[in-house]
């Protein structure tokens, strides 16, 4: 594996594109996007159809989720302090089932001299609900924004909302501010009372679109006590994250969230991400080991690999290129390489070498990682290499298809649910399906 820093401008869509998906996965959250016309325009237009992304529009023509509100600031306007908070309060009051409010604070807000955290504080006091300002695009590690940066920032904010607990029983440690949070839904059914021993329960980080339950089941199967997922299916439930907590991160782009858990003194389990067969196996094994359960997953992994054999045959030797924009590229490339594909390039706008140390170490020898790639140079490299498949960012999808390359959108993989053994299956199936369809289309006599 070699890492090359191209120091270019990668093609990354604004992290605001992911609002609808996040709103969907965080049922109790009200998202108030605060920004100028430009920010709202991006959030709005990117909520609609993006190239290579399934075009089902569950939220009407505009594509804006009902729990997403746009607050447009005018550049000339002098805002009295607290003015913003009053509108946030109005917006939250007129909606049912709001458990907490996230003020998605675009960069322009600071430039206009609005103190979003103060406004958040103020609205929190008036609403008696947690209100937090979230900056969608802070890259923790130097340059570069990922199209998933908003998700990282939101989860980081959720961690900040998590209680720092003493040692009182866990039920009471879940967040309840003015009783509103707890009142909304019943307490989630957690598996609490297994044997009380030195074994430690683990908190899992990641707003996975589907596979949370699968992974939980796998972990419980080997005896790990799973406190829950953050964010979990129950919006009002937040686990205590402090020195005693054991945290495992499931997504490669959650670098900010991961650091926040470390800052809180929680123990982060360093392992592969639960993506792909070996990744999932190592993840389960290491999480089990850290939390005091010995287990070997190699039998299970071998069995899954065997089950995947027919799918594997269909992608063996295929040459795959990742232009890179979501941050999901490295573990996916690792899995596909293990499954027999040839990875030509793994682009990634930024690379947190510390957080992804295990992943990078597990990457095959002949895989090249290009940090901060220049998208125009990538187009040339793709033309020269003629890969069998390009996992393309939304901006490059159409131009690449037009040049005769077979593409899948990176966002498509993001929403596929790539985690766990089932996820590995889904990934291979998606690639196989795509090759199959391309072959079908190529066979047509046009």
């Amino acid at each position: 594996m070699t890492i090359l820093n191209e120091s270019g401008v990668p093609d990354v869509v604004s992290p605001l594109w992911g609002l609808a998906g996040l709103a969907e996965r965080l049922p109790g959250a009200l998202f108030v996007v605060i920004g100028t016309r430009a920010d709202v325009h991006l959030a709005q237009s990117l909520s609609g159809f993006l190239p290579g992304f399934p075009a089902d529009q569950p939220y009407g023509v505009i594509g804006v989720h009902p729990r997403v509100v746009f607050m447009v600031l005018e550049p000339e306007e002098k805002l009295a302090s607290g003015a913003l908070a009053s509108r946030v309060v109005e917006a939250a009051d007129s909606r049912r089932g709001v458990g907490f409010v996230l003020l998605i604070t675009c960069r322009s807000v600071g430039l206009l001299g609005v103190d979003a955290s103060f406004e958040a504080e103020l609205s929190q006091r008036r609403l008696a609900l947690p209100v937090r300002a979230v900056v969608p695009d802070t890259g923790i590690s130097g340059f570069g924004v990922l199209s998933t940066s908003l998700e990282d920032s939101v989860i980081r904010t959720l961690i900040e909302l998590c209680p720092m607990g003493g040692s009182e029983p866990k039920e009471e440690r879940s967040y309840s501010k003015g009783n509103l949070f707890g009142k909304l839904r019943g307490q989630p059914g957690r598996r609490m009372s297994r044997e009380r021993s030195i074994r430690r329960p683990v908190i899992l980080l990641g707003a996975l679109p589907g596979p949370q339950e699968e992974l939980t089941a796998e972990l419980e199967w080997v005896g790990v006590e799973v406190v829950g997922w953050l964010p979990g299916p129950d919006a009002d439930w937040l686990p205590p994250i402090d020195e005693e907590a054991f945290v495992a991160t499931a997504d490669p782009y959650l670098t900010g969230a991961y650091r926040t858990t470390e800052e809180r003194g929680a123990t982060s389990i360093k392992t592969l991400l639960p993506i792909g067969v070996d990744g999932t196996a190592r993840f389960i094994q290491d999480v089990a080991a850290w939390t005091g359960h010995g287990t070997g997953e190699s039998d299970r992994a071998r069995q899954v690999w065997e089950e995947l054999e027919p799918l594997r045959n269909r992608i063996r030797g295929k040459r795959i290129f990742f232009t890179g924009d979501t941050g999901l590229e490295v573990p996916l490339a690792r899995f596909l390489a293990n499954a027999g594909a040839v990875i030509l390039e793994v682009g990634t706008p930024r690379l947190d070498k510390r957080f992804l140390a295990a992943e990078l170490a597990a990457l095959g020898e002949d895989v090249d990682v290009v940090e901060s790639p220049e998208w125009q140079a990538q187009l040339n490299r793709i033309d020269a290499a003629r890969p069998d498949m390009v996992v393309a960012s939304p901006g490059l999808y159409v131009p690449l298809v037009a040049r005769g390359h077979l593409c899948r959108s990176s966002l498509d993989l993001l929403s596929l649910g790539v985690h766990g053994y089932e996820g590995a299956h889904r990934v291979l199936e998606l690639f196989a399906r795509t090759f199959e369809r391309a072959e079908g289309l190529d066979a047509l006599n046009l």
Partner: protein
């Protein structure tokens, strides 16, 4: 500061990028934060075009002084110019955040590009401001490009005109220009240049050869054509060629400016009316009662709203309940033109306020942008998204302008009115039998205006289903979940 359900217009930089992406061999350099990316993706989604949008980012980020990373504006510009030897002009745009953070415009001239032996021109938009919106910026950006490239030169021998059409992402932009070009061809007027869609810098430098400028889409062609009028004395035609009347007016005006024989022009118009333009024919076929008392409401940009408003009022026979635009900078012009076909014209850029107006008037037909679709759906009224911005960007473009466009308008109206008439045959549930408790009414008042009509209907249906004599807050709540 306002809470908006959506916005009609993007920021100024988006307008500049639209103009640049409309043209050939023009490259835009956007000074912005890395998190403001998206134009490339939108360009791909809306144009289905194989060419990546001619837009490069000069990112604003913290970078070490001596770093080779992009981010230093002057160096980025030179680098982009070198990488794009085919670009004859580079236009510089700043995102709103860039403007707010005080990013200045660069001063530099490019060295000659060794590959093309030319040095590209750098076009700077000094007027950029975070207050300016998309269409006004696109109008001014086009003027800057025209101003940078137009020499004085003799007119063409045969009469020719320039067509100023909609920029890229305008629905049917190419089809509108093609249709007008076809019609002008019928009276023997050639098109000298089409601007901005598909125009190159060479086309811009040819502009002053034409005898006149035909402005189809004033939102993007106003300033450029005014500049050409002031500097080079080029007359312009600004009537939107929508409907047979509008198109006829444009054709006759061009004929006049090109000193064509009036009778010949009129013959061409008659031939088109017989062959292509079906809107007058539709208006005659349908019995007068069809439109009597039927009210249409229009909301959108300037050109389509006024053009369609006039057409529907005069040529079809609707009553135009109101017409509105979101283009604040064209307010005076809009109110003036809209007054020719409606008593109520307004400027508004909050979709919810427009929706509230729709709900208050419940017109028989609503013509608007895609942001009006929600309220039209909620109220179950016939709706045509004919005004930009629209989300549909079909592969096969169909013009709304010109004579062919008039037929498409006729079909659209016919189709929109047909379906709901069948629906109207169903008995409307009686509203009178149900009363609302005060608390329920209060709660209803809290529902956003544009959803209220639907919520009221659902609640009453639910109350009837429960055999309740009145609508209580509980029933209202249940019906909404």
């Amino acid at each position: 500061m306002r809470i908006l359900r959506g916005i009609y217009e993007g920021p100024g930089s988006h307008g500049i990028l639209r103009v640049a992406a409309s043209m050939r061999r023009v490259h835009a350099v956007l000074r912005a934060y890395p998190s403001e990316g998206g134009f490339l993706a939108l360009h791909g989604a809306w144009t289905h075009s194989g060419e990546p949008a001619p837009v490069s980012l000069s990112p604003i980020w913290d970078r070490p002084e001596e770093s080779q990373r992009p981010g230093e504006l002057a160096r980025d510009l030179s680098w982009i110019a070198r990488r794009r030897p085919e670009a004859d002009a580079l236009i510089f745009a700043r995102s709103e955040s860039a403007l707010l953070s005080g990013e200045g415009a660069p001063i530099l001239a490019f060295p000659e590009n060794p590959e093309s032996d030319r040095s590209p021109k750098l076009v700077i938009c000094e007027w950029e401001s975070p207050n300016m919106r998309e269409l006004e910026a696109s109008d001014l950006a086009l003027m800057e490009l025209v101003r940078a490239h137009t020499p004085n030169q003799p007119k063409s021998l045969a009469p020719t005109v320039n067509i100023f059409g909609p920029p890229i992402f305008g629905p049917n932009a190419a089809a509108e220009v093609a249709e007008v070009e076809r019609i002008l061809g019928l009276i023997g007027v050639d098109v000298n240049a089409r601007v901005p869609l598909g125009a190159s810098v060479d086309d811009l430098s040819r502009l002053t050869r034409a005898w006149a400028n035909v402005v189809l889409y004033r939102e993007a062609g106003e300033s450029a054509s005014l500049y050409l009028q002031d500097e080079f004395g080029m007359p312009r035609v600004t009537t939107p060629p929508v409907g047979s009347v509008g198109t006829g007016a444009v054709v006759r005006a061009v004929g006049e400016l090109c000193s064509l024989d009036r009778l010949q022009v009129q013959r061409a118009v008659w031939a088109e009316l017989a062959r292509t333009a079906k809107l007058p024919w539709y208006a005659r076929l349908v019995v007068p009662e069809t439109f009597r008392g039927r009210r249409v409401a229009l909301f959108g940009d300037f050109t389509y709203t006024t053009g369609l408003g006039y057409t529907l009022a005069r040529e079809v026979g609707f009553k135009v309940a109101w017409a509105g635009t979101y283009l604040k900078y064209l307010e005076k012009d809009f109110l003036f033109h809209a007054a020719t076909f409606t008593d109520e014209a307004f400027v508004e850029d909050d979709p919810q306020a427009v929706a509230a107006r729709v709900e208050a008037t419940t017109p028989d037909l609503l013509i608007g942008t895609h942001l009006e679709e929600e309220i039209a759906d909620a109220l179950g009224m016939p709706f045509l998204p004919l005004c930009p911005p629209v989300v549909e960007h079909p592969f096969a473009e169909r013009p709304l302008m010109g004579y062919a466009g008039s037929s498409i308008v006729a079909d659209a109206i016919d189709g929109a009115l047909r379906a709901p008439w069948e629906l109207r045959g169903e008995p409307e549930p009686a509203v009178s039998g149900l009363s609302w408790t005060d608390e329920a009414l209060e709660e209803l008042g809290e529902i956003p205006a544009f959803l209220r009509g639907r919520a009221r209907r659902l609640a009453e249906e639910h109350a009837r289903a429960l055999n309740s004599p009145e609508v209580t807050p509980e029933i209202l709540e249940e019906s909404r979940s």
